[in-house]
């Protein structure tokens, strides 16, 4: 009988680093088809509709761009934070606060806006997201409170803040009782960049954000500091990098980007603040960051893959009646396979010949 043993690699395999995300997506398609068949759905049909139809149907490409944009922007921020070993998992809350801050600008300037409205909203979104991420940063650096729990608890609180604002002070008086704000004035809405489609200015912004972040992370002292503090805190201290400063930067940058995504969503697809604004992009972006290997360029591809599953999930719902929740299961499976495959980055499988079978 042949046995296998794990042997530690001298250094992490670059091939496996980039091969495992691809393998994770492929495995999700294969195992997903089997599992969904086993529980009574058309498994192969589900995989085809979720993963392939959005790519083969060119009408869906604009949806892909619109869905991928917030995932890429938030995912880039999270990948920077996770690189520094800072576990911001409250991006959903920072996205919400960015959206709320932008909404405030849009409502306050309603009827008195101008060319400056969108830039100010963008700034408000960035500041709103960063300010909300500053709370876990302050608590972590001053009091050593775990940022995982605080950033997440603040997300639950921010959802309630939306409910309060759209039901009371910001409620549209002409909204026939619906809990939502008025529709933003035209100068507070993101322009469409391709006429006749739903593709808004947030899509190119997402690509620019990722490219700039890639450049900064790979070419600047800032990027080097984030990577060193995350990978080897002791060496970082020896090298004069402050751990607290890194934590602050990681949370502020990831919060600011989540807030920017919130602004782009509220001024783009939503056009007003509604109770349904928490879209889970902040949580899905966690998967995007990992699938993109915490590399801003990888995050572009991972964001598109995740957008495919969202758009494909909607297709599968209408064509073969697959419940919408199936998308979440596919996404989680992808993350499981990716994390499981990580062992092959650090270890190699080695064939072991048992003693007894060895020729004398």
């Amino acid at each position: 009988m042949t046995q296998y043993r794990l042997e530690k690699r001298r250094e992490p395999s670059r091939f496996m680093l980039y091969a495992t995300p691809v393998a994770a997506v492929a495995l999700t398609m294969i195992i997903g088809a089997i599992i969904f068949s086993a529980i009574g759905y058309n498994g192969i049909g589900a995989v085809r509709e979720i993963f392939l139809t959005p790519l083969t149907n060119s009408f869906k490409w604009q949806d892909l761009g619109v869905k991928a944009a917030p995932l890429i922007i938030i995912g880039v921020g999270l990948s920077i934070a996770y690189r520094a070993n800072v576990w911001n998992i409250g991006a959903e809350g920072q996205y919400i606060m960015g959206g709320l801050a932008a909404t405030w600008v849009a409502l306050a300037s309603h009827g008195a806006g101008g060319w400056w409205t969108l830039p100010v909203m963008m700034l408000a979104g960035i500041v709103g997201g960063a300010a909300y991420a500053a709370i876990p940063a302050l608590l972590r650096t001053r009091l050593n409170v775990n940022e995982i729990l605080t950033s997440l608890m603040l997300t639950y609180a921010s959802v309630q803040l939306i409910y309060y604002l759209v039901r009371a002070p910001w409620k549209d008086p002409m909204g026939m009782g619906f809990p939502q704000t008025r529709r933003f004035a035209s100068e507070a809405l993101l322009p469409n960049i391709i006429p006749g489609t739903i593709v808004h200015a947030g899509v190119p912004i997402a690509i620019i954000v990722a490219l700039v972040a890639w450049f900064i992370m790979s070419r600047s002292v800032f990027g080097y500091q984030m990577r060193v503090v995350g990978a080897a805190p002791h060496a970082a201290r020896y090298g004069g990098f402050s751990e607290n400063k890194t934590i602050w930067l990681a949370l502020l940058v990831s919060g600011a980007l989540a807030g920017l995504a919130g602004m782009l969503e509220v001024a783009g697809p939503f056009q007003r603040m509604v109770p349904g604004f928490p879209t889970n992009y902040g949580f899905t972006a966690i998967i995007v960051a990992f699938l993109g290997r915490l590399n801003p360029l990888g995050v572009i591809f991972a964001g598109i893959v995740m957008a495919i599953t969202f758009v494909g999930g909607e297709v599968a719902q209408t064509t073969i009646g697959l419940p919408n929740a199936a998308t979440g299961v596919f996404q989680a499976m992808m993350l499981f396979f990716l994390l499981a495959g990580d062992i092959l980055v650090r270890y190699r499988l080695k064939r072991v010949i048992p003693q007894a079978e060895r020729p004398a």
Partner: protein
Amino acid sequence: MTLGLAIAIIVTVVGASTPILIAALGELVVEKSGVLNLGVEGMMLVGAIAGFVIVFTTGNHYLAILLAAAAGVAASMIFAFLTLSLSANQTATGLALTIFGTGFSALAGQGYSARPVTLLGPLFPAELATHPVGRVLFGYSALVYFSLIMVFVVWWFLKKTRAGLILRAVGENDQSAHSIGYSVIGVRYAAVAFGGAMAGIAGACFPLLLTPQWAERMTAGRGWIAVALVVFASWKPFRLLAGAYLFGLVMTMELYAKAGGGPLSAIPAELWAAMPYLATVVVLVLISIRRDASSNAPACLSRPFLPSN
């Protein structure tokens, strides 16, 4: 406040605290073994839908609790395999388990929303609970007594038994536990399975004890509060009991503020709803002001184990 109202509040607090207490006791044992499983929320949702579906189809509450525990164990084994056998990152894998549990429970619960079930009734005969004092002592379902007994059991196991000593040794110093012949990975698998069972039962509390129906994400972050409570309780079961009841009180205040007028209802309902989460942040802050929060944490918490030989 009338006696009747006071007793009604106590009974509500106990109910609201029970799922958090059960889940947190499970996580406490997991963390004592040196593993940080952030998938509690996901395992609770898996337990909630399993419990709901079983009680909906069979009407048997105890079978529902049992199978919810089994479902929680099954979910926890995904985490255990990835983190213990493949030494995947525990934080990331725990998050993945929560994302999975949320999606899986929503998928499995498709078509079950707004279908009522009956709540699990009190364990003792109604005559015992007619007197106010009797109601406070004997007016609860079996899940409540289970949670209280488990506080004692977990304390006794960790403090007084040899197996508990081994578990703590594994969590404090995995390399030496390994070198004197204990199976670090085996002990951790067992601890994670126990945590999964407890989270599954805690999830089942939602449809069986609190609201007799299934709703997506019905645990609403209680699993994360349970994780925070373990830190709050500095890994001590009886402090966990106090912490869980404190949170039950905060949640109950929301109900009473919404229902009856008075000064409490001047505060917006949304602020009341946000209170448990804000309270968690406040509690985490207070605990770290009082002392270094990590001082009581098991030394090997969330470190993957690789035998040095």
